[in-house]
C-alpha cells in the first residue's frame, strides 16, 4: 500500500443552524472551492471524487446524481458513500483507499449536510423505522406522542441509556458530563468554524432542561448547515504539489457490531456503552500506524460526540486512557487545549453537527492541527505528531477511526 496524506482542507465559511442565503449545491461548492483555494490546486488536478451525506435527513435520496457539477467533479469518477453518522469519515477513507491502492493519485473527498432543510428526527425515524417496527420495541412511540420518540426525546433519549451505563461503569458523576460540555462549548468559542460559540459554564449547562435522564438539553449537539472537503494525495504527488506540510494518514479502522440493532434495539449486545466496534476498529488502526502505547503516543483526539458524555466514554473505549480514567483526566485539566491530551479542541460534534460532514471534520481538524494551519484560536500549543480521529453512528454500533501523523508510516 502507498502512503497517503491529507494535503488540504476546505470548510464552508460558516457552520450555522440555517444557511438561507444558499441552496444545497451552492453550499457544497463553497467547501470544495475553499479546499482548492487552500491547496492551490484546480479541478484538473483531481483524479476522482468521493462524496456523501446523511441519507434521508433532507429527504434527498440520490444527491450524487445532481451534485457533480457543483462539486467540480464533471467527467470524473464520483463515488457516493452512505454510512450514517460516520459518513464523513467513510468518504475520506474511500478516498484514502483509492490512493493507497494505487488506483488514483489525487482524490477529493467532500461531505455536507443542510439540516435546516429537513427534520433530523424524521430523518432518524426513516432509518430506524423499518427495523424498529420489525423489532417491535414496546413503549417506543415512533411518532413521539408520548415523548418516547426513539426512547424519550429523540436521539437524546436513545443516548441516555448509554450515558447511564457509562456513569455506572466509570464512576463518573453527572457533573462530569456538565463539565465536559462546558469545556467543549468553551473550545468552540475559539473556532470560527464552530456552530455554538458562546462561552458556557458548568452552571449554564446545569440550568438547561432535562431531556432524558441523565442527559440535558445542554448535553446535546445542535443541528447545523455546513460542508467539508479534504484533498488526499500519494507520496509522489505530495512532493509535486505541496511544500511538504501535510498530514499523513497512517492508520484506518472500521467496525460494526450486531448490525442494524443499535445495541439496544433487540441486539444481542445488551450494553449500549460496550462499543466493541470502537475497540476493534482502533486496534487495527493503531497496529497499522505502529502505535503500541496510545496513552503515551497519541498527542490529541478529535472524537465524535453527539452527546457530552461520549467524549469521556470514547477516550476509554479507544484506549487513550484506562477504563474509569477519563473523568479524572478531565478533573486534572488534561483534556483542555493546553493539556496533556487535548480532546475536541474544535468544540467537537457536540458544538457543530452538520452531520454528513461531522465525521470528516474530526480528521480534518487533526490534519490542520498537525499542519499548524488552524484558523482561529484553538491551535494546540504543543507539537502534534500523532492524532486520533473517530467517527460514530449507524445505530449506535458503527465506528470509524483514522490516525494522522506528521510523518508517513515507515514501510
Amino acid at each position: 500500500m502507498r502512503n497517503v496524506a491529507i494535503i488540504g482542507v476546505g470548510y464552508t465559511p460558516v457552520f450555522v443552524s440555517k444557511r438561507k442565503d444558499v441552496n444545497i449545491v451552492e453550499m457544497m461548492s463553497e467547501s470544495v472551492d475553499a479546499a482548492f483555494r487552500n491547496t492551490g490546486l484546480t479541478p484538473d488536478d483531481i483524479d476522482a471524487v468521493t462524496f456523501g451525506n446523511m441519507q434521508t435527513f433532507e429527504g434527498l435520496n440520490l444527491p450524487h446524481l445532481w451534485a457533480s457539477e457543483h462539486i467540480r467533479a464533471l467527467d470524473k469518477p464520483v463515488l457516493r458513500v452512505s454510512t450514517g453518522g460516520t459518513v464523513g469519515m467513510s468518504v475520506l477513507q474511500a478516498a484514502y483507499y483509492y490512493v493507497a491502492s494505487g488506483v488514483y493519485d489525487v482524490v477529493m473527498a467532500t461531505s455536507w449536510e443542510k439540516q435546516s432543510e429537513g427534520d433530523s428526527q424524521v430523518g432518524l425515524a426513516g432509518i430506524v423505522l423499518p427495523e424498529a417496527i420489525a423489532m417491535v420495541q414496546h413503549g417506543m412511540d415512533l411518532f413521539g406522542i408520548k415523548g418516547l420518540g426513539f426512547g424519550g426525546g429523540g436521539s437524546t433519549g436513545a443516548a441516555s441509556y448509554q450515558a447511564m451505563s457509562y456513569l455506572h461503569h466509570s464512576g463518573a458523576s453527572p457533573e462530569h458530563i456538565d463539565k465536559m460540555a462546558a469545556l467543549e462549548r468553551s473550545n468552540a468559542v475559539l473556532n470560527p468554524y464552530a456552530h455554538l460559540r458562546k462561552k458556557t459554564t458548568v452552571e449554564d449547562i446545569q440550568a438547561t432542561q432535562m431531556v432524558a435522564y441523565p442527559l440535558r438539553f445542554g448535553h446535546t449537539c445542535p443541528t447545523t448547515d455546513g460542508a467539508t472537503t479534504c484533498i488526499v494525495a500519494s507520496e509522489d504527488m505530495v512532493k509535486k504539489l505541496t511544500d511538504g506540510n501535510v498530514a499523513w494518514i497512517t492508520g484506518v479502522g472500521y467496525a460494526a457490531s450486531d448490525p442494524c440493532t443499535a445495541n439496544f434495539l433487540e441486539g444481542q449486545i445488551t450494553d449500549p456503552a460496550e462499543q466493541m466496534p470502537a475497540k476493534i476498529a482502533v486496534e487495527k488502526a493503531y497496529k497499522q500506524a505502529g502505535i503500541k502505547d496510545p496513552c503515551k503516543e497519541i498527542d490529541m483526539c478529535e472524537l465524535y460526540n453527539g452527546f457530552a458524555h461520549q467524549s469521556l466514554m470514547w477516550l476509554e473505549k479507544l484506549g487513550v486512557c484506562k477504563e474509569g480514567e477519563a473523568h479524572q483526566m478531565l478533573d486534572a485539566g488534561a483534556l483542555e487545549i493546553d493539556g496533556e491530551m487535548p480532546t475536541n479542541a474544535s468544540g467537537g460534534v457536540f458544538s457543530t453537527n452538520a452531520i454528513g460532514s461531522s465525521a470528516m471534520n474530526r480528521p480534518a481538524e487533526c490534519a490542520l492541527q498537525i499542519m499548524r494551519k488552524i484558523e482561529g484560536e484553538h491551535q494546540i500549543p504543543k507539537k502534534i505528531r500523532k492524532a486520533l480521529s473517530h467517527g460514530w453512528g449507524g445505530l449506535f454500533q458503527y465506528v470509524a477511526v483514522m490516525i494522522l501523523a506528521d510523518e508517513p508510516a515507515k514501510s
Partner: protein
Amino acid sequence: MADKLERVVVEAQVPLDYTYNYRVGPYIERYIKGLGDKKILATKCPQCSKVAVPPRKECGVCNKIMDEWVEVGPEGVVDNYTVGHVKIEKGLVENLESPALLAMITLDGATVPLLAEVKGMAPTDLKKGLRVKAVFTDPAEDSLADLSHFEQVG
C-alpha cells in the same frame, strides 16, 4: 424602499405525505399473536443458547438460525433506564405532562433486554435491578400494544 418592493422567494416547500407499509415477518407475527394470549415468546440460538426477545431469525454471532421458541417473562429485571421529560411532535420539542419512565428489561429466561415503558411508580423509585412484570391489554387487539407496559412486582 427598494428592498421593501423586492419580492424574495427564500424557500420552496415540498410537502410529502406517505405512509409506508412494512411487513413484520413470520417471527414478529407469531410474537404478536403470543401477546394476545398473554405470552411473551422468544427464540433461542441452538449454539450459544442466547434468548432474544422480540424473537429474531438469525444469531449473527454464531451464524445460526434461531429456530427454538421459548416463553420468557412475564417478570424481569430493570437493566438500564431513562426518564423522558419531553416529547417530539413534528420536529418540535414539547414538555411532557408527567415524566415517562423507560427501561431496558431483561425478562426471566431472556438474555437480551426489551425496551419498554414502566408505569405506576415515581421516577425516583426506578432503579437498576428492580423487578417488574408485564401488563397486557385486555381484550387483546392483535397488535404490539397488547403488551401495554410494565409495573413493579409486589
